[in-house]
Point group: C2
Chain length 432, copies 2
């Protein structure tokens, strides 16, 4: 790749709640897509030799790329439908039959070839994906992300418990699930044999109720052996919490820890019902919560105590939770996170603001995953997007808005139509 410089007005939040604005910045990026310098666009900086200099037009802003910490890739075709039915019907009648179709790898390729560019166009430069139980479809997703340039963490879903998983869609036994998980880890690692792979495998027990003891135990062993990250659902609903108590005599978080699955950078989707000791446990382990506020309204039954978690310094980010959530946009998740935090009872922790939501969507999620992205600094990789605030879907009134008000408007109002360019590791992956 050529050495590149981008001259732009910048918004980013290296630390929670702290917005940094540079009205006229220059970011220099090396041939590997790594940022080498960030600062005001001084004459000396501008005079340095690079291969390409990109200058953003007026009223365009450069932001770090968005990170989706929880997305079910196979559920993309049902996004927005069948959400008026109860969870059990949603899973058994709609979701599991759809996921079972990914035994057909051609179908998987068709859907994933639509999903990945759709997410890139929404500014999602990194996605933490649940795939399906199928090895070949999981590999297909990895190949498509690599080909299109999306940073991705991909898990073959492991689920073998006959009580909770239908006969037409489950791993036949724990041994098969472990064998297939191991194969997906090895094959994804073989696709990207560099030290710092763009696409990585993730160990993915669907959630505790859908996995046998044997499977959970062996997935923990596999995590220790391979060093692969872990993701799962956790304490999303009262049913799930009660199921864990009855089965393990403890919380989901404590049970996951027992199995060796609560590790650094483990991502727990939802976590609406984690209690205070759980939160300390998650924090101590360096694990993270993926907050999915759109799907929470449908399936959790409780608003996440986000204010408290932020103040405690937990690793946190946002998930679209396609297709329990009905939008592929992390900006939609960010605004619903703010809205939901406003809807908590007055006695609970306070709301979050737009800058905190921006941090969750970028730097917070990057820290949760331990990836060198999420804000602009030397040594970070250049994952970024451009927001046009005054085009056909105008959101800014430059004569009336202060910089922080423009950022607020971006977080509350911008959509795909405002996103003009997206880069991952310095490569432009979409454009308009």
């Amino acid at each position: 790749m050529p050495r590149m410089a981008v001259r732009a007005a910048i918004f980013h939040t290296p630390r929670p709640g702290q917005l940094e604005t540079l009205a006229d910045a220059l970011i220099e990026i090396d041939a590997a897509g790594v940022i080498t310098a960030v600062g005001p666009a001084t004459p000396e900086r501008l005079a340095r030799t690079v291969d390409v200099t990109i200058q953003l037009p007026a009223h365009h802003y450069l932001l770090p790329g968005f990170i989706d910490l929880h997305v079910h890739a196979p559920q993309w075709p049902q996004t927005g439908r069948a959400l008026d039915v109860p969870l059990e019907e949603w899973l058994q009648v709609h979701t599991f039959p759809l996921e079972a179709r990914y035994a057909d790898t051609a179908f998987a390729r068709e859907v994933y070839s639509d999903l990945v560019p759709s997410l890139l166009a929404q500014g999602t430069t990194t996605a933490l994906y649940f795939a399906t139980i199928h090895v070949e479809a999981s590999i297909a997703l990895a190949e498509i992300c690599l080909a299109l340039g999306q940073r991705a963490l991909i898990g073959k879903v492991a689920m073998d418990a006959p009580d909770e998983c239908p006969g037409f869609y489950r791993d036949a036994c724990a041994e098969d699930a472990i064998r297939d998980t191991r194969e997906v880890i090895n094959r994804i690692r073989a696709l990207t044999p560099d030290a710092n792979p763009l696409v990585q495998p993730v160990i993915t027990p669907r959630f505790l109720p859908s996995c046998s003891f044997e499977l959970l135990k062996e997935l923990g062993v596999l995590a220790a052996q391979t060093g692969a990250r872990v993701q799962t659902h956790c304490s999303e609903s009262p049913w799930e919490v009660a199921h864990g108590q009855a089965r393990f005599g403890k919380s989901d978080v404590a049970a996951l820890a027992d199995f060796g699955l609560l590790r650094e950078h483990t991502v727990l989707a939802h976590g609406n019902f984690v209690n205070d000791p759980d939160r300390r446990h998650i924090h101590h382990a360096g694990a993270a919560i993926a907050h999915c506020p759109l799907s929470n309204a449908y399936f959790a039954g409780r608003i996440l105590p986000l204010r408290e978690m932020l103040d405690e310094g937990l690793h946190l980010g946002l998930g679209s939770d396609l297709a329990g959530g009905h939008s592929p946009s992390i900006l939609d998740a960010a605004r619903m996170a703010i809205t939901a935090s406003r809807m908590r009872e007055a006695g609970d922790g306070g709301p979050i603001n737009a800058v905190e939501a921006f941090w969750l969507a970028t730097a917070g999620a990057a820290e949760a995953l331990g990836l060198p992205v999420g804000h602009f600094a030397p040594g970070m990789e250049f994952d970024a997007l451009v927001i046009d605030t005054t085009g056909p879907e105008r959101i800014a009134w430059p004569a009336l808005d202060s910089p922080i008000q423009i950022l607020e408007k971006i977080i509350r109002r911008a959509g795909r139509a405002n996103i003009r360019k997206v880069w991952v590791r310095g490569r432009e992956v979409t454009g308009a």
Copy 2:
């Protein structure tokens, strides 16, 4: 206008909760923009002579235009900003100073010339507007709506109470507010001197606390004299309810009724805290609630009991509440209405579904206003829009989705980019 026929797949909800789908319909529209026939596109119907026949492409759907029952036109430039501050600061530091600028009619024309096409592009064919206290700016809004073809009901805001309204932005006294309200009514009626005007005036006390007794009394008299519709805010917050109790010894609804302001087609914005007798009172009067779920999360502190109100047969529709709400899209209001209804405590009324939200956005709001729009039937005026479900912002998977699932996806996911054409009274008012 030429006589026109539109051949299309149709979704509409003539009655709450009842979706009607016609896979291949023909709607005939006369030169005045009134629908003369609706039915299957039979050879006989297709053979009838019209001047223009429009046939929608595959995977495009014709829907009734959306109706915004509560929108503050002057707040358009601040949409999405300054929402992290308390209400009092939002009003006094941000909103009132912005509204005061509309004393400058050129500024008003600049903003309204951006707002009206933006709302039309979102599919809002009818808007019930709060303007500002200014006569000329209110007339400018009416002229722009007429020129661009948006059906609109426009109110010069009346607010004269020194305790609640700042010195730089209020009617000087009740007499001035009445004189100016009367002038706006007369001048808007003079702009559209037909029996069935596209743009109509609305009597608009901001809310009870911002109006003197004298002003409220005289606005009630004016409503009876002129037959103009009425709109106001009502029982949005505990503060407002307490204020009304202290001042009138009764609820907002009962006080409005005393002043002659609770009339047929009066629209009460919010109503989150109306009690059971209030609801019966509203129902009996033929008044309506404009539900504004996005702004409610910021400023109301309670989710509207929407399920109960729907079941009781109250007149109901949706409002964007720009700029207490952060989106100009009635589809965003519809999905937040569903989401908020899901977030109510389990002991409260149940959630609403996507078809009910669609009814609120169209036929429900049309009934609330008493306008001949909102669904497709002979005698109704042709206010409609086209949704493209498989373009660049694809939402449908035709091989996988049933018709009702496509409607669900439209309600939960469609946005401005999916809206291809918009008609008001048979006139195409935007296109892509």
